[in-house]
Assembly symmetry: C2
Homo-oligomer: 383 residues x 2
């Protein structure tokens, strides 16, 4: 019923490291007694394109500031932003920190309290606030908007004898193109739209401050590279996340080096309200695909796609097909049909993922890697 | 972020066939005028292990009796039975009808009205009823139970010039080990438990009648093989479907040939109520895996598995891990960890599928084919 797949598996390269509590960047379980023996492991790897993750005392090291990011972001943004920012940051980091040499650890330097203070406005009581002081104005164009919505820290560890040590840091700063605010608590929501040039300017200034502060933290030596990516949140009703638009690296010290622009765009297909699509060929191809698919079954509830462009070219497409199928054989036939139709109509070259959903959950999944010709398929079965 | 996969794709082997309405097994759009030109296609194939499906006038041919099967089964059984019976029947059929020579079509011979009459009790008004006449008794041990709960028909087509013709039929008869009934409408539900020997006996008699009736239908020539599989429904609160326990083939004519026993067992792990597992090594392996996984994250909601045994040996395992993850990087690390842990603890040889679920839907997916050493992984991303 399923494809034969091939995969290379580096079997259980788990490092059972006995650490001595020296790693001060890990603030959750370091004891000051110096006698406790901690046990580090990594997740091992089944996929070379993914980092191994750090396991400490049998548990995965969750980022302490993570919950806050979410909380902040649900207020002002949407969950697509969170996912896409995290994935995007890991992608930026991979260019400098290879998955074979570095082990991934959720950010451990910036605590919840620190993140909370940084993300707030600067006030007399909160000198560390990275958002501007309130200027007392309430008008969308006159008030001082919140530029920085959330941040994500990712740590990249290298092996150091029997320990893991911090080898690199990646920081994403999520900036608001649309800053949503209330004039009265629980009141109506207003929006300050921030010009992209202004947003980049502010983001770069915030980035410089963040790097200087990180460099002063325990465990961050002067020569650990700090990558900073500036991320522009999508509007809160968007069905796709935002994009990174600039990055810089502080190879050592506080200097961030020069900024590199990142040209990314996301779009949801089909486009609505007669908007012009980013690429009309892609949009037309997608419509042809959709028409073919929708003819197949009377009970199809809809086909949508998230598309991702880099430097103007389509690099990825996540398609979701909502169905009301009943039968396993119906799903199998449909999966075959989707695969052949996708090969025929969808743009070649870009990475494509297609999920077939029903109310009971995912029914089938098809994927084609960037540059590959063939779709792999999986129909989710049940005994 | 994902594995590189290989897949063989038979590109769009769609047969654009112009039929003349001769195929009487297709009762939905055959016109009697003889002038209408119908267009047949097949789904094409992206996976050699799956059949191509028939598309007629751009639409997939749904089985007319399909809805009824579902309806009947939700009353007395559960949705796992439906899925597992359909998949199981296709698996039985594949042994005789190869996916390269035959095209799959949802059953078109048995109409809704026919299925309804067959599945009901035999009465003066319903001579075709395959379930016994009501004997007026209400006691679980004295009443005449409903043996036949539902049925599934699958048609296997071959190419015949520019047409498709019926090349084989597979029928699954879903029989009740537990027959649920009400003494009063909307009243309490009682259960008649049917002895497996008795159930097999009744099932075989029903099968003989079904084959004789099918053989008389238009379009079913004397030499078309009819496979019949006897399926035993799982109890309605089961988290896994039932199994096939016998099969026979009427190669030609009404004679069903000899019955072959099928030794299949399904089980949900972990076993509850101190029940003895089918295979204690498998159960222990699964528990070790679960313990490792549950340690990893504080927010793990549970790990369960459907297991499938054939001839006493574990052949498949569908594991579902319920999580409350937030972050994409957390899911990536977890996926790596699940993959390495599965390789270490789970039984080798059997086909294994692992889905990582959150309330938002599927987050990641891991699979290992039967006999393969390596897991393929997919983390569902978002732009």
């Amino acid at each position: 019923m399923k494809k034969f797949w091939t995969a290379s598996l580096l079997l259980l390269a788990t490092l059972a490291l006995a650490a001595c509590g020296k790693l001060s960047f890990n603030d959750t379980s370091t004891t000051s007694s110096g006698t406790k023996t901690e046990s580090y492991q990594t997740t091992g790897t089944v996929n070379d394109a993914l980092y191994q993750g750090v396991i400490k005392n049998g548990r995965y090291q969750i980022s302490s500031a993570r919950g806050l990011t979410i909380q902040q972001n649900t207020q002002g943004g949407n969950n697509f932003n969170v996912k896409s920012m995290e994935t995007g940051l890991t992608n930026l980091a991979q260019k400098q920190f290879s998955t074979s040499k570095y082990v991934f650890q959720e950010g451990q330097l910036i605590t919840t309290a620190t993140a909370k203070s940084w993300l707030a406005r600067k006030t007399d009581k909160n000198a560390d606030g990275l958002n501007p002081e309130d200027n007392g104005q309430e008008d969308a164009d006159k008030r001082a908007p919140m530029y920085l919505q959330s941040l994500v820290e990712q740590d990249f560890m290298t092996q150091d004898g029997s320990n893991l040590k911090l080898g690199g840091i990646a920081i994403a700063l999520a900036l608001n193109e649309y800053d949503y605010y209330q004039k009265v608590k629980y009141g109506a929501t207003y929006t300050t739209t921030i010009d992209q040039t202004k947003l980049a300017e502010e983001g770069k200034q915030i980035a410089a401050k963040v790097v200087a502060r990180l460099r002063k933290m325990d465990g961050v030596s002067a020569d650990i590279p700090i990558i900073v990516g500036l991320y522009r949140n999508a509007a809160r009703d968007s069905l796709v996340g935002g994009v990174f638009f600039a990055e810089a690296t502080a190879a050592s010290g506080d200097s961030l080096g020069s900024w590199t622009n990142i040209d990314q765009q996301n779009e949801v297909l089909p486009v609505i309200d007669n908007k012009k699509p980013i690429n009309s060929t892609v949009a037309t191809d997608f419509n042809s695909f959709t028409t073919q698919i929708e003819n197949f079954f009377p009970t199809l509830a809809g086909v949508t796609a998230q598309t991702h462009y880099e430097n103007g070219a389509l690099t990825g497409m996540n398609i979701t097909i909502n169905t009301q199928f009943y039968g396993e054989t119906e799903i199998e036939s449909f999966t075959q049909y989707v695969g052949t139709t996708a090969s025929k109509y969808l743009p070649s070259g870009a990475k494509i993922e297609i999920t077939v959903q029903a109310t009971q959950g995912i029914q089938a999944f098809l994927a084609r890697e960037s540059g590959a010709k063939d779709f792999t398929t999986h129909v989710f079965g049940s005994y």
